[in-house]
Amino acid sequence: MDYLLLQMLNGVQLGLLMFLLAAGLTLTFGIMDLVNLAHGSLYMMGAYIAWTLIGWTDSFVLGAILALPTTFLLGIVVEAVVMRRLYARDHLDQVLATFGLILFFNELVRVIWGPAGKSISVPQFLSHTVEILPGLPYPAYRFAIIAVGAVVAVLLAWLVARTRVGMLIRAGASNRRMIAALGINIELLFSLVFGLGAVFAALAGLMAAPLTSVKIGMGDDILILAFVIIVIGGIGSIKGAFVAAMLVGQIDIVGRAFLPDFLKTFMSTAAASSAAPAISQVLVYVVMAGVLIWRPTGLFGQRT
């Protein structure tokens, strides 16, 4: 029971981190109709920028907070310089150009920060463990990720559902041409959405950094999972991204925590321990395929 609780918390923590990354991706894809492969690069840039700022300020919290407006600016600049030219083009051109951006950012990081990875230490006040139940410790830092992720998710839900900007975002997701025709400054909206997406990606990157180290290409691995999430959740839907991220987080943990033991009940230990990682690796994609058969536009996607 304790063990189950611990693993579920791990799933929630992973899911929230993935949600932060997927939120920006689903917004840019849904509203701007832009396939942005370089979203993972913003995740990486967030972590590197935070590393530098934490070094300067000598405080994790201060460095992390300063990193957010910095990456917002970075997002605005990337949008103005590169993305704006891609909206009118088809998805293949966008894939090509944003793939180029990945290479550009990876090289940029190498030039600025060097090829070796960096590490951000878990801040002192979060480096202990918290007993969630007697005799069951859980890292305080992972709790902090859950807390920040949950707060951001609530804020985002409020922003999208209750504010004027959110209304425009929702309108943009359902019919882009119409809101442009109604005289909304679509360029400004796009800049804002892209910048916001960059901030969320950077937040995910800098929060993941103490757990996984800061390195070149760190966003590329996780980006595929983020795409899976937005496809499951329905492109353009924040609610969908949240539900799908939670689902993927739990699936990932189940695949790693319970599948090997389950397989061992009817397979040899050797066969089970080599089959389990292979199966858990494809589990997420199997679920995605299942969802797409059941609901071709994703769980909360716009019906077309």
Partner: protein
């Protein structure tokens, strides 16, 4: 427009190429990872290979030599392409480097069989090449993958550790490492996990399983950047101080600056440590430190040895590498001063060597480094040698 076949440029080019041909430098291809998250390892290997070149005065057997570096980008298919390019286009005399077992396995045939070129692995040592895939054109200046964990297992067995939980990534080397430690450690295995390679960065699920399994110790194999991640999460989970960690290839001179004090007191096994008291090693470590301000890693030491091994063969043949049989015979003698101390090649061209237990400590200047604390096994022969048909 007609192009002149022999324009003035062609003649000049021909004339220029003449003295170059007369000298015909010895060429060594070097395949390693120079980009991406594991680029720091490739850089350390390059620095050591360049230091070897400097110590040799840029010559072996009286001939100048050059090292052509190629980036495998951490991918087996790219590694194979780069190996083919080195053999077919650059016409190198030797190919060395290779951090990753899966990259080496993909590249082996292209170099040794199709290219009939000698390959010296400076790190990867998959069991297949030590056993039935062994090859007369293949030499190793490292080890077979099973051997280092075997040394660790042997030490833990003697130390009286009752049970272990094993973790490694799910690829060729990870499987060998797990098999290796189980060969010598006879206590209970409380559990074992293979994790996704190379993209799994989060070990929370596995650490929770370890907590539930309550082993006497944890054994891990997480090379390079992954070792940093594992150690950080192990410390954050609160398991540090409760269940001791034992490692192979997960704490080294490259990862230490990021692992920092978290690595202190964690034991590991290795065939080379920077404080081994032989003259070749003292010179290598001192000059490396002077040049780069850091300790070299075992990857670097093995790369240094690879260049020195090639140099010893070229030296014995006075730079004439035309007869491959003679080159192979000279290589097999391992007639050079290895930084790990002298060793012999076994029938499968893998070294028969000692393995040491190392601890993480701070040196006089406060810099984190590794220190030999015990000899785990002496003159160890890898467990696959008998499966290799070569004599």
């Amino acid at each position: 427009m007609k192009t002149k076949l022999f324009g003035p440029t062609t003649i000049v080019a021909l004339a220029l190429s003449l003295p170059a041909m007369a000298q015909s430098p010895i060429k060594i291809g070097f395949v390693s990872t120079f980009s991406g998250p594991q680029a720091a390892i490739g850089e350390d290997m390059r620095r050591s290979a360049e230091l070897a070149k400097e110590h040799l005065g840029g010559k072996m057997g009286g001939k100048p030599f050059e090292i052509v570096y190629e980036d495998d980008t951490f991918k087996p298919d790219v590694g194979k392409q780069k190996s083919e390019k080195l053999v077919q286009q650059d016409k190198v005399n030797f190919v060395t480097g290779y951090i990753w077992s899966n990259v080496l396995l993909a590249s082996l045939k292209a170099v040794t069989d199709e290219g009939d070129t000698i390959l010296v692995s400076a790190n990867a040592g998959p069991s297949q090449i030590a056993g039935n895939l062994c090859n007369k054109n293949f030499f190793s200046t490292s080890w077979n993958n099973d051997q280092t964990p075997m040394a660790m297992g042997e030490y833990l067995q003697k130390k009286g550790v009752k049970s272990l939980y094993l973790m490694a990534p799910n690829y060729a080397a990870g499987k060998d490492m797990m098999a290796g430690v189980k060969r010598t450690f006879k206590g209970e295995i409380k559990g074992e996990d293979f994790t996704k390679w190379p993209d799994q960065l989060d070990f929370s699920a596995e650490l929770a399983k370890i907590r539930a399994a309550k082993p006497d110790g944890i054994f891990i194999f997480y090379p390079g950047a992954h070792g940093v991640q594992f150690l950080t999460q192990y410390a954050a989970s609160g398991l540090k101080g409760q269940v001791p960690l034992y490692q192979v290839f997960s704490i080294d001179a490259i990862t230490l600056p990021q692992q920092k004090d978290l690595a202190l007191g964690i034991l590991g096994a290795q065939e080379w440590v920077n404080d081994l008291p032989n003259d070749a090693n003292k010179k290598y470590v001192a000059d490396f430190k002077k040049k780069h301000g850091t300790y070299p890693s075992f990857y670097g030491a093995q790369s240094y040895d690879a260049i020195m091994l090639i140099a010893s063969a070229a030296e014995a043949l006075k730079g004439d590498l035309s007869n491959k049989d003679k080159v192979r015979a000279e290589m097999k003698k391992a007639n050079f001063k290895s930084v790990r101390g002298d060793f012999k090649f076994g029938n499968n061209n893998f070294p028969i060597e000692n393995f040491y237990i190392q601890d993480t400590v701070k040196d006089a200047a406060g810099m984190l480094t590794l220190k030999t604390v015990a000899t785990a096994v002496t003159a160890a022969v890898d467990p696959y040698a008998s499966k290799c048909p070569m004599k």
